[in-house]
């Protein structure tokens, strides 16, 4: 790469060089950053065309979604903001009963962010995209002054081809439908909280951040009567079930004893006064299926690593819209509600 107007190549001294305001200025520094980092990492014909946008050939129905990622710290056990920005949007597309295909990526970088950190995030995005089979075909880059962002923020939007023959949405859920959960809950939220607050845990709890597209598409392709999917991100399992029940105009019952929570996750929740049902996940979803398909659906889910611990945890029933009750571990019953406000650790 040529050395232009006395400036050093922005990536020549990884580890020391940092993002400068000029990297977002639309001039040479930005062009160098795109050429040396983003285009090689995401490597696809749409980016090579260096056009203002990507032209996609997509017949049929398309699912379209967007999400922004502002997680702090940028790296935490099990994942990082880059992988999350890919998986999160991929998962939202999959929840619509669609096969995720193309993403956009918008970056807001804070002046002073080490370029080595940026490289690590971008490469993690590229790895996640390759593993999931999606292409990052267009993007944007802005730099804000030091102190105006937590290192970097990422927005991704994505589109995918709808493969479900029927609408996959809460409105399709009927009384008697069963509630399947794709695996243990709470790991992502606890991993991030432990990293952010520097909690010294006996063993690192790793985020469950992952793409859930493969098992979702398998359920659809193998003809399971799926009424609705919901990924269990912020607000956790509780918010996911309550929201689906509300929109469906139904009540739901879950059995706490059947909801898998790892022992270390539940110990941290207990210490901090958090309900694992409210803790965020990044690679977990619920599938609402017709009762006659439960066994087959679970068998399909368990063939995929990301949902190998899938279980049935309850069902939808006639009743007040959004009323979710849990049978407690000792046999009593309680209401499951959305998280209100932010999760705050308690005093004692």
């Amino acid at each position: 790469m040529s050395n232009i107007s006395g400036d050093h190549c922005p990536l020549a001294h990884d580890g020391q060089d940092v993002v400068k305001m000029a990297h977002g200025g639309g001039g040479r520094a930005m062009a160098q950053l795109l050429d040396s980092l983003f285009r090689p990492a995401f490597d696809n014909p749409w980016l090579e065309r260096q056009h203002d946008g990507a032209v996609l050939d997509m017949p049929g129905s398309i699912a379209f979604t967007t999400d922004s990622y502002v997680v702090r710290p940028l790296f935490f056990p099990g994942s990082d903001i880059g992988a999350m920005a890919v998986h999160g949007t991929v998962n939202d597309i999959a929840m619509c009963g669609a096969e995720p295909q193309y993403l956009s990526a918008g970056f807001i970088l804070e002046e002073g962010l080490p370029l080595a950190t940026l490289r690590q995030v971008v490469e993690s995005m590229a790895t996640a995209a390759r593993a999931t089979g999606v292409r990052i075909v267009t993007g944007d880059l802005k730099v804000v002054e030091r102190g105006k962002a937590d290192g970097l923020y990422i927005n991704t939007a994505g589109v995918g081809r709808v493969v479900a023959a029927h609408p996959i949405e809460p409105g399709q859920v009927q009384a008697g439908d069963r509630l399947l959960l794709s695996g243990d809950i709470g790991r992502h939220g606890i991993a991030v909280m432990a990293a952010r607050e520097k909690l010294d845990l006996e063993s690192a709890i790793e985020s469950d951040c992952a793409s859930i597209a493969a098992p979702v598409l398998a359920l659809l392709n193998e003809g399971i009567s799926v009424r609705c999917f919901r990924d269990l991100t912020r607000g956790g399992l509780a918010s996911g079930v309550v929201e689906v029940a509300e929109t469906a105009g139904l009540a739901a019952e879950v059995r706490e004893a059947d909801i898998p929570v790892r022992e270390d996750v539940s110990a941290v929740c207990e210490l901090l006064g958090l309900d694992p049902l409210h803790v965020a996940n990044e690679g977990r979803f619920i599938a609402v299926v017709a009762p006659e398909d439960v066994d087959r659906a679970i068998a399909i889910l368990r063939r995929h690593g990301v949902s190998e611990a899938a279980v049935e945890i309850g069902q939808f029933i006639e009743g007040s819209a959004g009323r979710v009750t849990a049978q407690s571990l000792i046999g009593g019953s309680r209401i499951v509600d959305r998280l209100s406000g932010e999760q705050l650790p308690r005093i004692c």
């Binding site: 004893a257 022992e263 007040s320 407690s328 000792i330 019953s333 209401i335 308690r346 005093i347």
Partner: protein, 368 residues
């Protein structure tokens, strides 16, 4: 980290519930003192397993809930002072003061930081020698030793930019105050296990004798609570009243003497206002004269000692165990965790919040 599943098995819970039903011959009213116990009771539906003759009423043991509004207002005032960093436990953030809460103050630019331990606040003070770092020291006897330790350390290190806003309260004086109120219905207590890990339970013995109430030091897991209820009812049925220790895996009669020593060095017993219960003599801790220079009230002005006017909120009656949260006309309608009228609806350990989370019917009322 295996420590609790054995205290949550459904068969053992049923066996306890049946044993309680067998020995219960007439109505009894028990109070669990601690908000953590209230939360477990409502979350696991423990009360639903008990015979109808037994009423559990929820005590004042939520430290956030009983902190007087004047202290919240003082914390807000301190947080709004230029150059100050206010450190607090997370669940104080949404407790409403007269005008605002600490979360809103933070959103408007105040430097309010959530810490998990007062020693973290001390670290913040070391990191920012040019800023005034104030720790909001709230809680029962459980938090007092660590809060005392932070002040003790600050004194040893000469950290002059560190101070504490102290609103520490003590459980035994509150139990006495409840028993001495006219119209008291409580016939037996489940005392808070974690508090007793620090203080032991010798102090409860004269209360049990004088007021003829059984007091069972009880843990927080479902089976702990069921066993605590069983022991309490069996004393009542036999006409006995003494202090028993259900939580013997954590509590000894003398308590944790090292913790008591640091508390005694740094704090002294003072009268305190309790939200919902008014002024109770010798029911709180304040800094002892030797540590007065670390008192945020000495630096930022004294907190007034007035009794609170509560308006529509019935949290006083809830904290005294006179009504259940769902018997308040505002419950779940004009008062929700998003729009709380009182602090019992805000705190994780608050009885109203526990009922709202686990018992509410859509539309407001709770289910039985």
């Amino acid at each position: 980290m295996k420590y609790r599943d054995e205290y949550r098995t459904p068969d053992a819970a049923r066996a306890y519930a049946e044993a309680i039903a067998r020995i219960t011959t007439r109505p009894w009213t028990l109070m669990e003192v601690c908000g953590g116990q209230t939360n477990a009771i409502v979350r696991f539906g423990i009360d639903q397993l008990l015979p109808k003759a037994i009423s559990l009423i929820h005590g004042p043991g939520c430290p956030v809930c009983v902190t007087p509004i004047d202290y919240i207002d003082k914390a807000l005032e301190i947080a709004g002072t230029p150059g100050v960093i206010l450190c607090t436990f997370g669940d104080m953030l949404r407790v409403p003061g007269t005008q605002s809460d600490l979360a809103a103050a933070r959103a408007r630019g105040a430097d309010v930081r959530v810490v998990y331990s007062p020693l973290e606040a001390l670290a913040v003070a070391r990191e920012h020698p040019d800023r005034d770092v104030v720790f909001f020291a709230v809680g029962f006897e459980t938090t007092a030793p660590a809060n005392a330790m932070a002040v003790y350390q600050a004194e040893r290190e000469g950290l002059v930019n560190f101070s504490v806003l102290v609103s520490q309260v003590l459980v035994p004086p509150a139990i006495r105050a409840l028993l001495e109120r006219s119209g008291n219905r409580v016939q037996g207590f489940l005392a808070a296990g974690h508090v007793c890990t620090i203080t032991g339970y010798a102090e409860y013995e004269p209360i049990a004798r004088r007021h003829r109430v059984p007091i069972v030091v009880t843990g927080f897991e479902p089976l702990d609570i069921l066993e605590g209820v069983y022991r309490c009812i069996s004393q009542l049925e036999r006409g006995e009243s003494f202090v028993e220790n259900q939580y013997s895996r954590a509590v000894r009669r003398p308590g944790n003497q090292l913790a008591q020593q640091v508390m005694e060095a740094v704090f002294q017993v003072v009268p305190r206002q309790w939200r919902g219960m008014g002024g109770i003599p010798e029911s709180g801790l304040g800094l002892s004269p030797a540590y007065r220079s670390f008192d945020a009230e000495a630096r930022f002005g004294e907190v007034s000692d007035r009794e609170e006017v509560t308006g529509e909120c019935a949290s006083g009656a809830v904290l005294r165990g006179e009504i259940r949260p769902d018997q308040c006309p505002a419950f779940g309608t004009r008062c929700t965790p998003e729009q709380p009228l009182g602090v019992t609806m805000v705190s994780e350990e608050g009885a109203c919040a526990a009922y709202y989370r686990y018992r509410r019917q859509p539309g407001g009322q709770s289910h039985e």
